[in-house]
Amino acid sequence: MTVEEFRYSTKNALHPVAYASIKAMHTRLEMVLVDMAEDAARALCEAVETDTSEMERRFSRHEAAAALTVVNMRGGREAVGVDDELFMALELCEAFRRGTEGYFDITACSDCAGVGVRAGYALDAAAHTVRLYGAGTLLDMGGFAKGYALERLRRRVADSGVTQAVLNFGDSSIAAIGHHPYGEWWPVGVGASVGQPSVAHEFRLRDSALSVSGRGRGGEYHIFDPHSGERVVREETVVVEGRSALVCEVLSTALYAAPDSRRKSIISRYEGYAATVLRCGATGGCKVRRVE
């Protein structure tokens, strides 16, 4: 993996800006960094690429050597030892499962309907092992990894001294540092539909994050309801804003999967997070509703 594109512009002498893109986690991570020297920006992008690559290896379920792949292969038969970071991530996932009434579940993709209402795996803190419940259980951290990575990368960028930046993971997970150099926030419009420039709703990020869940850009239904084991077929988009990119990612997935009647109860447990539901018609007109 390498930095796919790096551009540095000094067209605005007051605010030089760097743009970089990296292919990662089956999508693309884009960064806009303001007021940073070119060499430092380039070095930061390379460090971000290294971090992302390392996290992708850790959380991928497709790479033979990845730790998660080993868990999926052997975890149904025996307890499998994992390193600190994966163990912590699995602890977090289980906490989020309980904190979303089971609508966020990293085992939701496996052949085990109803798994959302009970744990799909057991962690042994003393032995640092994980054991899957049932041979059919698989862990898929796709709904967690982007948010987790974005959270870590946001910290790395902020720690490097950057005070104004946007990190965009596949357009669906965005983290902002500071604000736009010519405004009080970073304006982020969620599109009404694919290929249309019209905005369904504008969100304002300032040292905060945003995550969008719904049908894929091609209309694919790729989110599972952990309770039923079925794909969620719902003609709406859920956007969650808040401090942490990881929590936003988890909540947007859970709230899209959850029925409307459960959403308020779930989001109310997370102080400082807000959810918005967008229902857009074919011609671009959208109804926007806050979950409250």
Partner: protein, 437 residues
């Protein structure tokens, strides 16, 4: 674009105008046509009541606008089987007598291949609206004869290429034409089974009548019985016709127990004017890989059989976030639209593909009679509606014609061991199905 329209089967499709503009033949099963035929009856006669004829009957029984008034088969047990479903239908052993029946407006022909052309021609001459199973005819010459005569008579003629009416194929082709997988760079088709392709024969003198598929006197084997369906994927996705075809066919396995003389193993390559190849392979002594139809694009792949899309590229580079950079360069701030749901198709070759629509029904290709939810019901309903309206759907006949022509051309290429092109005399006007400039 309202993709929701694709989520329902044809009978409930409520097709939007843009869909009809791309796939005009679907007008025959649109809500508008359904309303038009409400209260009307399509009086249908079925010629050939063997396994495929009975398969159609199961669908016809579900259609209130259909009245089956006549049945015909020269093999009495088959005729009696069908008569159980329609006790009041008039029974015939000679299809020409059925064609004289004034209570029949349209006929469904489900007979051996060598009878398709003569029966279709006779039925059109008798003023009937016609649905005939694929392939269109036993020979290239007969295909042309049927095509031209239909044009002269202005008759309604459907050929049983049911994928044209299968919602998941319609959705997939629409996505391909939108450029979702980039440029089409290859088309792979295969159909593997492991059975002798035989039907039980009550007495030896009926062998060739019942097992007509196995004898070249009546059938062109795997190319007309199976390939015909899949070859259509090439022209439908690429939007042009093959320039040449080469192939190899042999009788490899099923040689000991019978005297069949059609190939049980075939492989063909069709090359399009832009250099893209479409392959077809069929073996009926190994079923491991089943049936497959894959459109390979420069940015992704669509598996037509499973209704799954796979991506080679993560996502287009975002113009929205580039706007942010431009704004900063120009010292301004305005709204940047770039957030949305994820570009979800994963790029890992090991990743499961994403369904192009919910509730995709996968046809394994194992059945030698027909599969559920593969467009068979929809095409028959569309035909029943056309029997009432008298309207020939656009483009459907040309797609069917060329699927048959190229299946037959490939069969010739195998027998002659040559690379062949379609003779100019067999070319009829062809307008590709495209919605992309």
């Amino acid at each position: 674009m309202d993709r929701k329209e694709f989520l329902k089967d044809c009978g409930r499709m409520g097709l939007a105008g843009w869909v009809l503009s791309i796939f005009p033949w679907l007008e025959s099963c649109s809500d508008r046509t359904r309303q038009e035929v409400q209260g009307e009856k399509a009086r249908i006669g079925i010629i050939g009541t063997g396994s495929r004829g009975l398969f159609h009957i199961q669908h016809l029984l579900q259609m209130p606008q259909v009245e089956v008034t006549a049945l015909c088969d020269d093999y009495t047990p088959h005729l009696e089987d069908a008569a159980q479903y329609y006790p009041s239908a008039k029974l015939y052993s000679d299809y020409r007598r059925l064609l004289e029946d004034r209570n029949v407006d349209g006929v469904i022909i489900a007979t051996p291949l060598y009878l398709h052309a003569p029966m279709t021609l006779d039925a059109m001459e008798a003023g009937k609206r016609v649905f005939c199973e694929k392939a269109m005819a036993y020979s290239q010459e007969d295909c042309l004869r049927v095509y031209n005569r239909r044009k002269e008579l202005g008759a309604v003629l459907f050929i049983g290429q049911q994928r044209l009416f299968d919602p998941k194929y319609i959705k997939a082709m629409s996505m391909i034409h939108e450029g979702r997988i980039g440029d089409v760079v290859g088309v792979r088709n295969y159909w593997y089974r492991n059975n002798n392709w035989r039907r039980d024969v009550p007495s030896p003198e009926l062998e060739r009548r019942i097992n007509w598929r196995l004898y070249s006197e009546y059938s062109r084997g795997l190319m007309t019985e199976l390939a015909c369906h899949q070859l259509q994927n090439g022209s439908w996705s690429i939007g042009m016709l093959p320039e040449q075809v080469m192939g190899s066919g042999h009788l490899v396995h099923w040689t000991k127990e019978d005297k069949r003389d059609v190939f049980d193993t075939v492989s063909a390559i069709f090359t399009y004017p832009n250099g893209v190849n479409m392959t077809f392979e069929s073996i009926i002594s190994n079923k491991h890989f089943g049936m497959g139809e894959q459109i390979l694009g420069s940015q992704g792949t669509i598996d037509l059989v499973s209704g799954l899309i796979y991506s080679d590229e993560p996502m287009p580079k975002g113009s929205g976030i580039h706007q942010l950079v431009t704004q900063i360069e120009n010292g301004i701030m305005s709204n940047s639209v770039f957030a949305g749901t994820s570009w979800a198709a994963e790029t890992s070759p090991l990743a499961p593909g994403l369904p192009i629509m919910p509730n995709v029904t996968v046809n394994t290709g194992e059945s030698t009679i027909g599969a559920e939810a593969d467009g068979s019901k929809e095409i028959i309903e569309a035909f029943a509606n056309a029997v009432i309206t008298g309207r020939q759907p656009e483009k459907i006949l040309e797609e069917s014609y060329y699927a048959s022509q190229f299946a037959l051309l490939a069969d010739r290429a195998m027998h002659e061991n040559r690379i062949l092109t379609l003779d100019d005399r067999f070319k009829v006007p062809y307008e590709p199905i495209r919605n992309r400039a």
